[in-house]
Symmetry: C2
Subunit: 289 residues, 2 copies
């Protein structure tokens, strides 16, 4: 019997002024997402990933301690608790990336993974932290992740998470494949310019090299007052052959969905025996250099 899984990705703009309180911003964005999650459920989505730091702006556009207040504990903070309730209610795997406070004043860019019965399965912390123009000042906020590249055994399949800038690093994508990931989600926040051409190049190539499905999310719209660029949306699913299944709009709040036949993974691996033919004994420079 074919293993068909319906996946969903939510891309959504942040309409609240960044001068508002952190509480207000979060409330506006969480309300918006709660409605979109209900809609995804009505469309039969079984596994849903939200955008990076889904409940606010992409605030690393500036370096201000105000934004440390965005952080919550996981799994004991309010957003993870709410998402566990929604996951259970809708029988849906949910991955809601937020800012995590691990201990007082220590923050990570983190994605919790919640199973379709509401069980908290664990977290992935973003490993590769950008700090570059035109406004991706993440080293000011986040400690580099220390969870390793984890694969979560959910009710719909084996799920890996990679986070935004991580996508430029083939190593973690490979490790997720080696650890058995069937679908890798990557919630991103990236703007028009240099990266847009890469948007359809890097992650499809990782889907091919590692022979899994990829769900990539990007936010939409312009965020004030920073205007670091247009978040160009186009969240997508691609298959283990690197072919696009669905691509979202450039500028609209949207649930992007695709039906993924996980049996395609075996089919592709029986044509291309990449895992058989790797040469790990020759790869030392990857950890030495």
């Amino acid at each position: 019997m074919a293993r068909i899984v319906k996946g969903g990705l939510i891309q959504a703009s942040c309409p609240e002024p960044s001068s508002s309180s952190v509480e207000k911003i979060k409330k506006v964005m969480i309300d918006k997402h709660v409605a979109l999650i209900a809609q995804a459920a009505s469309e039969g989505v079984e596994v849903l990933c939200l955008q990076e730091i889904f409940y606010g702006h992409y605030f690393p556009a500036e370096q201000e301690t105000k934004w440390y207040e965005m952080a919550e504990r996981i799994p004991d903070g309010p957003t993870t608790i709410l998402m566990r309730e929604l996951a259970k209610k809708y029988k849906m795997v949910i991955i809601p990336p937020i800012c995590e406070e691990d201990m007082t004043g220590v923050y990570y860019n983190t994605a919790p993974v919640i199973d379709a019965d509401g069980e908290f399965l664990g977290i992935y912390r973003k490993h590769h932290i950008p700090h570059c123009k035109p406004g991706f000042w993440e080293k000011f906020y986040f400690r580099p992740g220390n969870t390793g590249y984890r694969v979560f055994d959910t009710k719909v399949g084996k799920i890996g998470v990679y986070l935004c800038y991580d996508r430029h690093f083939p190593e973690g994508a490979r490790i997720l494949g080696l650890c058995g990931a069937e679908i890798v989600f990557n919630p991103s926040a990236t703007v028009a310019g240099l990266s847009e051409y890469l948007w359809r190049l890097e992650q499809p190539a990782q889907a091919v090299a590692n022979q899994y499905f990829v769900g990539a999310i990007n936010r939409v719209g312009w965020e004030e007052p920073w205007r670091i660029g247009e978040f160009y949306g186009q969240s997508y699913f691609c298959d283990p052959r690197g072919q696009m299944l669905t691509v979202g709009s450039r500028d609209k709040d949207e649930i992007v969905t695709a039906e993924m036949d996980l049996d395609m993974i075996r089919e592709v691996r029986q044509v291309w025996q990449f895992f058989r033919d790797r040469r790990p004994e020759t790869y030392d420079p990857i950890i030495d250099l």
Copy 2:
């Protein structure tokens, strides 16, 4: 002063029947390539890479001991000696991939690298050996390479070589980048079907991840009696942004050339600090799994 290097790639069909003697096949193909190399020199090419096992068919379409006779010693065999003479004559770096006999009856799929004064700089032996349908039976012929992923300091820049099926493995491509490669050549033999979509996806993605130029060669035409597929040509150069510089024809013998501005590597790395932000201490599973 900009560091502009003119690169060349030769794609060429093998018109000699595969039932001919190995000597005859080699003579036909070497004569054809000597003429093309002279033409490349007249066009000002400074670094030239030939196709995989350039001096014959892609004989791993079948598994026959006859083809062991294709192998030569490196650098003492006649083809390497000839290529060194041509490199010196034309002041051109030449990479002429052949079958190598290392000791009696032990063969590698190898690319010698010859500097622009004829100096023999060393070899790269293909590390990842396919053995799959519809006719890539290389494990019958070749021992997996044991040279490591070497970067050669030539008169035109730092050159890495990756060979055909190697291109499906991001690890070696990464190691070449870590070792300072500015241009990576990949001589291939690949046929229409599953791989054709990947042809413009995998190696441009590696150029982006590792921020170097790539020159990818594929042969052209159908080879009898095997007809494993159409070698679809389209040899290309792409830049560190993953953009195509030049793409050859699908079906013609051809010298594909491009002018590469090696200063673009610094420019791209100053925008994207991928090497700064790698996390080698988290990559152990790449060598452990």
